[in-house]
Symmetry: C2
Subunit: 241 residues, 2 copies
């Protein structure tokens, strides 16, 4: 944990917060804080700041908090991802939040198995704590909004302009002749990256993405598992800024 994360309603008007549970335990047992010690903290979807320890008991840690004036910027890349296997998605949530995505859009595709949509890994109760775990790792506070779209065509034709207005669009596909970093480097501001299912998008899906302004870009000759590919692609995009 590189950051203690608070919700807005936990904070008293005085700027004090009394932590219990796992965060208090982490401060007491791992960081072994005493009064006077300062720890990094952040408010979910709010600013980063520092918390001065004012009191430690057997079950609580009290902090006096001060915050930066600005809220961290949303990462400039949004991710459009064909729904991966539940086991893979479970592993991905924290990693995506850590490496930094502005928004996560999960969609259907021909090569997505229908029962993937029934998993509890798609419920906020499961994914939100994992996203926050990733933010704590990366010292960020912006929880990426998540949306789930069972109808790919409706998503691309009707919903995407609202979800991600004014973004450069890139689809990762082996048919792409440009390198992903080179394409991303030309993005004026925000960027939407589409990553297909294991086995790739089918021809209809690629054509629809083409027709809606997605630039095809490759990442070399090696085929990667969805989770490895997502991290690698996001790293290349972030690294190109």
């Amino acid at each position: 944990v590189n950051l203690i994360v608070l919700t807005r309603h936990e904070l008293a008007a005085s700027g004090h917060v009394i932590l219990t549970g796992s965060r208090a335990r982490h401060l007491r047992e791992v960081l072994q804080v005493d009064p006077g010690r300062s720890v990094r903290l952040g408010v979910i979807d709010g600013p980063l700041g520092a918390g001065m320890v004012t009191d430690v008991t057997a079950t609580t840690v009290t902090l006096s908090c001060t915050f930066e004036t600005d809220v961290p910027e949303r990462p400039r890349v949004d991710l459009l991802l064909a729904l991966p296997r539940p086991k893979v998605l479970r592993r991905l949530w924290a990693q995506l939040a850590a490496i930094g995505v502005g928004r996560i859009i999960l969609t259907n595709a021909e090569r997505v198995e229908r029962n993937y949509f029934d998993t509890h890994v798609l419920t906020p109760e499961v994914y939100r704590p994992l996203l926050i775990e990733g933010l704590q790792q990366a010292r960020d506070t912006r929880v990426p909004p998540v949306s789930i779209h069972r109808r790919f065509k409706v998503l691309i034709e009707d919903e995407l302009d609202t979800l991600c207005p004014q973004t450069m669009r890139i689809v990762a596909d082996p048919s792409g002749t440009q390198r992903i970093g080179d394409v991303a480097a030309t993005a004026p501001e925000r960027l939407l990256l589409a990553v297909g299912p294991e086995g790739g998008w089918n021809r209809f899906e690629l054509d629809l993405l083409d027709a809606h302004g997605f630039h095809r870009a490759g990442m070399g000759p090696r085929t990667l598992r969805t989770d490895t590919a997502c991290i690698a692609l996001l790293a290349m995009v972030h690294g190109s800024v």
Copy 2:
């Protein structure tokens, strides 16, 4: 599985191979091959090729193989990694082989817990099948050699020049002011990337790396878990070539 992997001694002089076990099952049940069908294959540390199915029985699949003349090039990046937690390392093996590393050098560091060296995840019986799984994913045949070094100083001072001769050396560290992709883009040929433990290298370790020609390079303000960081860094290096 994007590639059926053979060992050299499985191949008859005629170029035929009779597969049993999991590979035969995969061909029969997943790919549902019939005689006449061609599948991609590769010989471990040898060439890629194609196998024409000549016979299918309840337990075997026979292939007639032809191979390319060249063996795939070793990936140009070698990885020097402070030994991560066994659970993280277990997840990493296949991903490292898939994204492509020439060699994997595991080392000690102050912030590596001593008992990490006792795990069975460090035995070839465990990691070799996982490396081959990654190669099958990425359609490569070159198994990266793995070496384990409990003495960091001895490794850096006495062994590294032999293990990785004539490579550009980069250490990923938040103190690096240059971007990793920019540094990697200037590498003349091979490249050695050092990735520290959770919590980073200590000052002595960084100084020793400095003294032995490692360029410090950063990857931005976000702190990542070792496994995410390895994949992200390797992607940025590969993407910069």
